[in-house]
Every structure is written in structure tokens, then in C-alpha cells.
């Protein structure tokens, strides 16, 4: 009986190794950093509201067996372009956020469709392709924003334009929509600000994803995720479904980016989107998801653990070695390291599963 318990505990630990490891890091880091509990709770709530939506955008391609969507950066670009437009037009408050989202939809659909098409040509190499695609589109984005805006695309708001007369400035002040959603329904519990409205939006997305899994389309995606060949034989249009999965993810990423930036309040025109993909993926993986498995609970657990680590590591580094920079490097290292580990584990298990089938036969022979 006891042995059995031991076994289940071990199994649990094995299956949740990454979140547990992070729990340990965080548990050691919190006292080292010297932050107060109040401060940390506030930070976590802010970061949950800021990042969860972006991370949620990753779930659908995972469901469709396309791995981690490094191409979500494209959606972020779409969202940013929406924000640039509303800032240019001086649309303020909630209508501004709403309009930016609406503008981002067609952009995301085009970008997502393109990504889907390309990924269909690179089956089995989706991740590295979407990863490079993000870089490639970053060039196109720069072409549009840095050279197209103010020349081909009219921008009337001179405060957006670089002094040379065209191109968007490196930072765009989003004062017009800054935290308007977060502060829509003010709530303060024990001195901690809770952005209720943002959380409502996040809950709506969660409900959408849960509902979506129950639709025919969601079922088809799950089928494709398991075996493209079988799904194809059953008459499911695999390529189209995969494109839809990426388009949905891109749209959600665009929305997520808008929510993220309305909380931050400034848009780094040429940098904001770059890191978003990596941090979102790292957060999801920290939450215990893997390349082919992702749940909503992974998202929230991941955001909490990953960002706790993020908040405390500079101070912990400073208090430990006297160098805050070390902590900063540490968190960069952890972000990349965690993705590496997840990718390695996934590829390794896939390879192992193939080889394991042999051992059954050997056992059968030995029993004779």
C-alpha cells in the first residue's frame, strides 16, 4: 500500500518536474529577494492580467499538433499596428482598445493564413519554421512601420513620426488607452489592486477555448494533432484545419498583445513583439505544458511561477552576489533553458517511443 503511494508520488513528480523545479527556485528566491508578500502578490496579479491572454493564444496550435507557435509574434505585430492606428487617430479609452482589436483581426487573418500555408509545406518542422518566419516577418514589419508609415500609409499625428518625416518613433506613448481596461472596474482588496475587467476578458477567452474544444472543428484539430494520416483518411481537410488553427492563434495573440500593451502603457515599436513569443512560450512550458500537450491550468500556473522568478531574480542576484545584472542574466538563461529542455524532452520521448516497442519482444523471449 505504502509502496503504491510512493509510486504515485514519484509519477506525479516525474510528470510535473518542470513546475516543481520552478517552485523550488521560487521558494529559495523569495526570501533572498527580500520582497514583501504584498508586493509580490500585487506583481503576480498585474502579470497574470498582462500575460495570460498571450499565453492562452498558444493552446490551439498545440491542440492541432503543430507544436509551440513561435509565429505568434506575427499576431503581436498585427496588434501593434492596430495600436499605432488608434493612437494616430487619437481614439481614447475602451473604444480605442476595441477599435485596435478590430483592426488587428484582418491583419492577423492574413498573417496567420500565410503562416499556415508555409507551415503546411514544412510538416514536421513547424516550430523551427515558424521561429524563422517570425524573424522574417519582423523585417517586413519594419519595412512597413519604419518606411511605409508616413509615406504610403498616411500618419497625421506628428508626435508618432520620426523627426526625418516618416516612420514611427521607437516608442509610442499609449497614454490614451493606458490601463483603461484594467481600471474599468476598480477593486482593491487589502491594498492590492485587481484589474477585474481584464480578468473578465481572460475568463471569456478561457470559456471560448473550452467551448471550442467541444466543437466539431476542435474535435478535428485534436484528431489531426494525434495522427494527420488517420484524420486525412477519415475525410478531414487537414491542411485547411491547420491553417485555421494558426489563424485563430494569431488573432488571439493580436488581442493578447493589445491587452499587454494597454497595461504597460508604452509601445516599443520595434522591440515589444520580439520578446513576447519567447516569454509566453517559456511561461506555458514552466506551467507544465509540453510541445504536444497544453491545458488552461498550465497557462495560469506557468504565468505565476515564471513571472515570480522574473520579478525576484534581479534582487535575489543582488543580495546573493551583489550584482543585480547576474539575476537578469539568470532569468534570460532560465527562459531559454526551459524552452530547450522542453524541446529536448519532447524529441527524446518521441524517439524513445519508437525504440521501446522492441523491448516487449525481448521480454516475451526471455520469459520462455
Amino acid at each position: 500500500m505504502k509502496k503504491l503511494q510512493m509510486k504515485t508520488i514519484l509519477k506525479f513528480a516525474e510528470n510535473n518536474a518542470v513546475p516543481l523545479l520552478f517552485l523550488v527556485i521560487v521558494a529559495f528566491g523569495i526570501p533572498l529577494s527580500g520582497f514583501s508578500m504584498n508586493y509580490l502578490v500585487q506583481e503576480i496579479i498585474v502579470r497574470l492580467s498582462r500575460n495570460s491572454f498571450l499565453v492562452l493564444a498558444l493552446l490551439i496550435p498545440i491542440m492541432a499538433g503543430m507544436g509551440l507557435n513561435f509565429g505568434m509574434v506575427l499576431g503581436a505585430m498585427g496588434g501593434q499596428i492596430g495600436l499605432i492606428f488608434i493612437t494616430n487617430w487619437n481614439i481614447v479609452g475602451l473604444p480605442g482598445i476595441g477599435l485596435a482589436m478590430i483592426i488587428s483581426i484582418p491583419l492577423s487573418i492574413i498573417l496567420g493564413w500565410m503562416t499556415g500555408k508555409i507551415l503546411n509545406k514544412a510538416k514536421g518542422r513547424e516550430m523551427v519554421t515558424s521561429f524563422i518566419l517570425a524573424f522574417f516577418m519582423n523585417g517586413v514589419y519594419q519595412l512597413v512601420v519604419l518606411y511605409g508609415m508616413g509615406t504610403v500609409i498616411p500618419i497625421s499625428n506628428s508626435s508618432l513620426i520620426l523627426s526625418r518625416g516618416y516612420g514611427i518613433r521607437n516608442t509610442v506613448n499609449l497614454i490614451n488607452i493606458r490601463q483603461t481596461l484594467d481600471r474599468l472596474i476598480p477593486l482593491k482588496i487589502a491594498g492590492i489592486q485587481v484589474p477585474v475587467a481584464t480578468f473578465i476578458v481572460i475568463v471569456i477567452v478561457c470559456v471560448f477555448i473550452v467551448w471550442f474544444r467541444k466543437t466539431k472543428l476542435g474535435q478535428d484539430m485534436r484528431a489531426i494533432g494525434q495522427d494527420m494520416g488517420v484524420a486525412e483518411a477519415a475525410g478531414i481537410n487537414v491542411e485547411k484545419t491547420r491553417i485555421i488553427a494558426i489563424v485563430l492563434s494569431t488573432i488571439l495573440a493580436g488581442f493578447g498583445m493589445i491587452l499587454y500593451l494597454q497595461n504597460i502603457g508604452t509601445l516599443n515599436t520595434y522591440n515589444s513583439h520580439e520578446q513576447v513569443g519567447m516569454f509566453s512560450i517559456a511561461a506555458l512550458l514552466v506551467g507544465g505544458a509540453s510541445v504536444n500537450k497544453g491545458k488552461i491550468s498550465n497557462v495560469f500556473l506557468g504565468v505565476i511561477l515564471f513571472h515570480l522568478m522574473f520579478v525576484i531574480s534581479p534582487m535575489a542576484g543582488k543580495n546573493l552576489i551583489g550584482q543585480a545584472q547576474l539575476g537578469e542574466f539568470f532569468r534570460v538563461f532560465v527562459s531559454y533553458g526551459i524552452i530547450s529542455i522542453a524541446l529536448v524532452l519532447y524529441a527524446y520521448r518521441k524517439l524513445r517511443a519508437k525504440e521501446l516497442s522492441g523491448s516487449a519482444l525481448a521480454n516475451a523471449q526471455e520469459e520462455k
Partner: protein, 347 residues
Amino acid sequence: MNVVRKIIEKTGWPRLIIGLFLLSLFILAPFVGVKISTSLKDTVVRFGMNGILVLAMVPMIHSGCGLNFGLPLGIIAGLLGGTMAMELGATGPISFFIAILIATPFAVLFGWGYGALLNRVKGGEMMIATYVGFSSVAFMCMMWLLLPYKNPTMVWGYGGTGLRTTISVEGYYLKALSNFLKIEIGGFTFPTGMILFVAFLCFLMWLFLRTKTGTAMTAIGSNPVYAKASGIKIDRIRTISVILSTWLGAVGILIYQQSFGFMQLYMGPFYMAFPAVAAILIGGASINKASILNVVIGAFLFQGILTMTPSVMNSIIQTDMSEVIRIIVSNGMIIYALTRVVKGARK
């Protein structure tokens, strides 16, 4: 008509477009007042600087490990070699060879571990290579801060600990190769030594690919099952290819530094794999086939674009669009290669 189509198919549209683009830059250059001779000279220098980093792609492509996005690992070995050579007090051109000597064991060690990892993740090498590169760079960021370097030219002035982000190699191996047998033509120095060294390493690689081991490597990239059936220990050969690639990365960055004049630590090596990958693809390589010729052509074309675009574009539209063009050209080329269906090779 058919011949034209066949040539286009064989070359591939992106390669063709890039080629035509470069050609048009050369044609346009005189009209907008850009001297072709200067650009060519710049191209030669940059070719020499980057050639070995591109060459580093070859062994892993041959052994079927795909494009070495994990090149930063090799670069780190080179940086360790360079910094340690300086720390040990080696000065002058000889310090270049000492740096290579010190970098070698690191490159072998890193390459061995990296190769062992890649052997366990067959089929997913490229993505993992990318992230191995990224995380090792991030890890070394911490190490550069912590390692007990003492040489005042390298260490932050105020703290006394931790290396600077940019370290000048002046007085050490600056132009160690470039100045060897250099030829001065009208204010421009042709870096004979560097080009010779690059050519020498290319020749060694050419020789290596013709040895028994090199042949086995090519066979693995072409068809690993065939290779296995012919009694080849695939994992071993793959590891050798990764070690070679890593070592070439280490040497490559040292050559780069001796010409450039500075050593860039911390996030410096982060994106260094991408231009090298793009260059060899532009040169005509695919994910599992590459030749020395691909390296030479690719490095030349790619560096040509990098030198020509800023000057020519700047003269035409008074804007420096080179950065954007570089991003689009290099990553576009990589995507193209990734989406090509590799026939007759591994699934």
C-alpha cells in the same frame, strides 16, 4: 524555354532573386556615385571575416544534423580561447594561435556534449540547436560576470570583476592574419593572410570530406539507414561532425575578431548563427547537401549584399534600409530552404 525553367527550378526563386538583386546593385552603383572597387574590397574583407563561420555549417549538414543554429556554442569556445589567451598575457600575432589552441579543447568538449544531445533528438535537431545556442549564450553571460579574469584591458574598470561587453584586441591579435603578406592598393589593404587562412581551412575541409570518415558523413546525410546497413556507427560520425562544426565556429569567431578589432561578449554571439546559415543557403546548399563551393559563393553573395545595400540604397533614397533588407533576405532564404521537400532523404 524548358531549359530556362529547369535552371530556375534548380536554382530556386529566392536564390535567383537575391542574385539579380545583387547584380542590379552592382549595375546601379556607378550611376549613384558608389565606387564598385571600394565595395568589392569591403566585400573581400567581410568574406574573409565570415567565411569560416559559414564553413562551420558544412560538416553538420553533411552528417544530416541540419543547419547548425547552435553555432554560438562554437563561438563561445572561441571567446573563451581569446579571453584566456589575453589573460595569460600572450600578445602580438602569436596570441591568435594561442587563442585557437586554448579554444580547441573547449570546442571539442562543447561539441561532444552538443553532439551527444543531438543524437538523442534525431529529427528535431534544428529547433533544439537554436535553443542550445541561445541558452549557452545566456549561461555564458553569467559566467563572463563571474569568472575570475584579471587582465585590466578586459575587466570593467570600476567593479574590478566581470568582463566588459566589448574588448579591444589591439596589442593582442588585431590583424594577426590580415596583416600577413598584406597588399596595399590605393589605401586599401588586401588581407592576404586572412584570405589564405580561410582558403587553407576550406581546403582541409575539402580533403576531410574525401576521407573515409568524410565519405561516411556524406552518406549519413544522404541516407542514414543505408549508412547504418554499411556498418557505420552513425552517432559517432555525427558527433565528430558536430565537434568539427563547433571548432570551426571557434576559429571563425577569432578570425572575425582579428579583422574587426573587437571581441563582443555577453549577448554578442546571440544571433551570429543566422547570417552564416543564410549565407550557405544562398550559396546553393540545402538542409542536407552542401559543398565548399556553396560556402564560397554564399559567403561572397551574402556579404556582397550586406556591403552594397547600405551604400547604394543610401545614395538612391537617402535612407539606410540595409538592416531591413538583411533581415528579409537572410530569413527568407532560410524559410525557403525549410519548406523545400527533401526527396529521397529521411522522412
